[in-house]
Amino acid sequence: MSAHAITRRSWFEADARTRIHGLVDAGSFSELCGPHERLTSPHLAVLDLPVAFDDGVVVGEATLDGERILVGAQQGEFNGGSVGEIHGAKLRGLLDRARDTRPAAVLLAIDSGGVRLHEANAGLIAISELMRALLGARAAGVPVYGLIGGSCGAFGGMGIVARLCDGLIMSEEGRLGLSGPEVIETVKGVDEFDSKDRALVWRITGGKIRRTLGEATLLVDDDLGAFRGGAKALLARGAPLRGLAALDADQAALAARAQRHADARDGLDIWRALGLPDAERLAMLDADAFNRIIDRAETA
């Protein structure tokens, strides 16, 4: 009965393993360092806090449309998907394996507020090792793609990791940033950023504004199949290494963007400045309709 009653399966609400299974070819996923190995955080144990047998991240091998890939997915519900020593080591190992075995791509389903604060320096070191390993995989010619659509978004160190990827797939529910809204409010005050204003938070960090600004390569609907479709599209597109000239051009474009939107206080300001039609209505559009508008604006 349920098969035809279900129209969509939400990425936002899925856990890490469900996301992986929705992403890759059916039955193709084999997990590395799985829960049976009980690689748990020694730091949380010392603090007498609950641990997870996978330390909040699932990594392994699979195929996508028959092509071998490596895949990792963070479990946002475990300590906000935070990167501790074990968690980070699993992701780093995955990326080192990519460098050594050259799969078609690495897919990282990011759902994390960043470093696990309980693990202090161990967590910071773990995330910096992860960044280095990611660049190592890319240098070896393996493209790395991030997928962001979970409740924790991609913040802190994982926000940086996301931006190190060759491409990002986001849903509008996904959020991307460096300091999270609560952190900014705590440090700079509510006038700087009201983290309780959910609409504002999404207009500044959410998938639609990130797609507008070009930080997200693709915007997809909150649906497992849509993320899978996005991953296939990026895989087909490929990600050849870019030379210094291209990086200089990126840098110049970012500087121009920062100048152009220097006074923007809100994603709406940016949409209006770009002259997009009915800026107030953009938040209501599904991914396809939104993408059409952005594509049109980009080609114009």
Partner: protein, 547 residues
């Protein structure tokens, strides 16, 4: 011989004469309102202050609370809901001393403190229909203070979508020669429609800000759990489908919101469109939008409106009751009557259920009252017309005996444990302790056990109609009470026997695989999905948006 028989009419004229110099025709300037109230109301008067479930005559309430206790004292307040701080302030300031009411949700704690300090004399706690009935019998207001959307120069009033209690209050007051004072949001040349004719009301004041309306019936689908989806599947397949429930009322809450959101998906997959849930006595719940759009719903009559649903309701006038002007018309008294006499089922949640099936939302230290749930959630003994659902329930109740009347389905749907692991099933309701603490004559029971027909939990459905003794009833309840102390104290053999007889049914017994019960079945997973389902007509309040 005129005088002794028309004293109320004479008093009405005298009262208005006392304030003639303070008003410009019908209209009172906002700054003069307190002077008017002090002049027109008399100590000891029975005053009906319009406090509804949603719409509040907030400016009139605040102004009454600011009147001088020397001028106004010993008022007897009659009002359905105490929702605003000012509703309690009038007692704390010594302006009013006696209260008859229905519901005090947000002010329940302050009310309980006043009772314990003996600062307030509560006549009785009513259901809505009871209180409205008494407006016309022994609680007729001398003065009523109501809320309307707009007035014209003649004093005609337009009530907007949230009509709620206003017609009942005005009818009782105006036709017993009481004084009717309205606060309005605006004065206009021409009203979209006349809900209260000018000769039923006396004075109006344009309030400095629009009257307060609370979006009480908006439930964000994002907060519905998989367990609630499971219970909704059980209710749909095990009760709605089996009895063919066409006419019904839903309580407020996530349990019933889940049912509404499963109609276009799960119920559709069972082929139930057109067979269940066609006619509703219900506020315009945003979570009903997908079912309406899917063609499940033929009609909805409402107690009040819901903030943000105005344009959607107006655009679906085949389904909702709307005026010639296109906007919604609600009416609490009529909708309560519809729920009592014209519906075959009520389903709602509660906080505690005891071994007899009595349920209560009372918690210690709070006097919350009843509202309308007991009107919906009771078998109407005065009903005479038959329907398949009503007859089938009656037959189950009657057993082998002769069938003289049908039976309403009154369903309680609860998870065995509520927040903070508080068991929903208890040996004794907190209501009994509250009765002791507050010196009440009866425990505040929301739905009486002998009115309840079914209890749905994540463990199963208990059909109390089929129980033949108090002992069976107790075991049927224990048998769906899960791991609560009440559930663990079950007689396992008797419970299995009840299951064999179909008195208790587990998800398996009705062909539901608990693994299918996921949020993916919901027709909308968040508020934005509801807006999309409405074609952009639903305009949710800010607090429910993330865009």
């Amino acid at each position: 011989m005129n005088a002794p028989w028309n004293r109320r009419a004479a008093r009405h004229a005298q009262r208005l004469a006392r304030v003639a110099h303070l008003a410009a025709g019908r209209e009172i300037a906002a700054g003069k309102l307190i002077d008017v109230l002090e002049a027109v109301i008399e100590p000891g008067d029975r005053v009906c202050l319009e406090g509804n479930n949603q719409k509040q005559a907030d400016f009139l309430a605040e102004s009454l609370a600011e009147c001088s206790p020397e001028r106004l004292h010993d008022l007897h307040m009659v009002q359905s809901v105490l929702a605003l701080p000012s509703h309690i302030d009038v007692f704390e300031r010594g302006i009013a001393s006696r209260l008859d009411f229905s519901f005090a949700g947000p002010q329940a704690t302050r009310l309980a403190k006043l009772v314990q300090a003996r600062r307030i004399d509560i006549g009785a706690i009513h259901t809505y229909l009871e209180l409205f009935g008494r407006y016309f019998v022994d609680l007729t207001p001398d003065v009523c203070l109501i809320a309307a959307q707009a007035a014209d120069a003649d004093g005609n009033l337009y009530l907007g979508p949230n009509t709620e209690d206003t017609p009942a209050i005005v009818e009782a007051t105006a036709f017993s020669h009481g004084i009717v004072i309205a606060q309005v949001n605006e004065r206009v040349e021409r009203l979209p429609r006349v809900d209260i004719p000018a000769d039923w009301s006396d004075l109006f004041v344009v309030a400095p800000r629009p009257n307060h309306i609370e979006p009480l019936f908006t439930r964000d689908p994002a907060l519905i759990t998989d367990i609630q989806v499971l219970m909704a599947m059980m209710a749909i397949k095990g009760i709605y489908a089996e009895y063919g429930v066409q006419r019904l009322n839903h309580g407020i809450g996530f349990d019933t919101a889940a049912i509404e959101l499963l109609l276009p998906t799960y119920a559709e997959s069972l082929g139930l469109r057109g067979r269940i849930c066609k006619h509703w006595a219900l506020n315009p719940h945003p979570t009903l939008i997908p079912a309406i759009e899917a063609g499940f719903v033929e009609s909805v009559h409402s107690f009040g409106s819901e903030v943000g649903m105005e344009n959607y309701v107006a655009a679906r006038s085949d389904v909702f009751f709307t005026g010639r002007d296109g906007s919604m018309r609600s009416n609490r008294a009529f909708c309560q009557t519809a729920g009592l006499y014209a519906c075959d089922m009520f389903i709602g949640s509660t906080l505690q259920i005891d071994l007899a099936g009595n349920s209560s939302t009372a918690t210690l230290g709070r006097i919350a009252g009843f509202g309308g749930a007991p009107n919906m959630g009771s078998d109407a003994r005065g009903r005479r017309h038959a329907s398949p659902a009503w007859l089938r329930a009656g037959r189950e109740r009657a057993g082998d005996g002769p069938l003289t009347h049908g039976r309403k389905l009154v369903v309680q749907t609860v998870e065995t444990f509520r927040e903070h692991m508080a068991p929903a099933f208890v040996e004794q309701l907190d209501a009994w302790q509250l009765m002791e603490d507050m010196g009440m004559e009866l425990p505040p029971i929301m739905i009486h056990g002998d009115d309840v027909s079914h209890i749905v939990t994540e463990e199963g459905i208990a059909n109390l109609l089929l129980c033949r003794s108090a002992a069976e009833r107790e075991q049927a309840i224990r048998g769906v009470a899960g791991y609560t102390p009440v559930g663990r104290a079950r007689d396992a053999r008797m419970v299995e026997n009840l299951r064999d007889r179909g008195v208790i049914r587990r998800p398996d017994d009705i062909g539901i695989n608990t693994r299918d019960a996921t949020r993916d079945l919901l027709a909308a997973r968040n508020i934005k999905d509801l807006v999309r389902a409405s074609g952009g007509l639903y305009d949710p309040p800010r607090r429910f948006r993330n865009w």
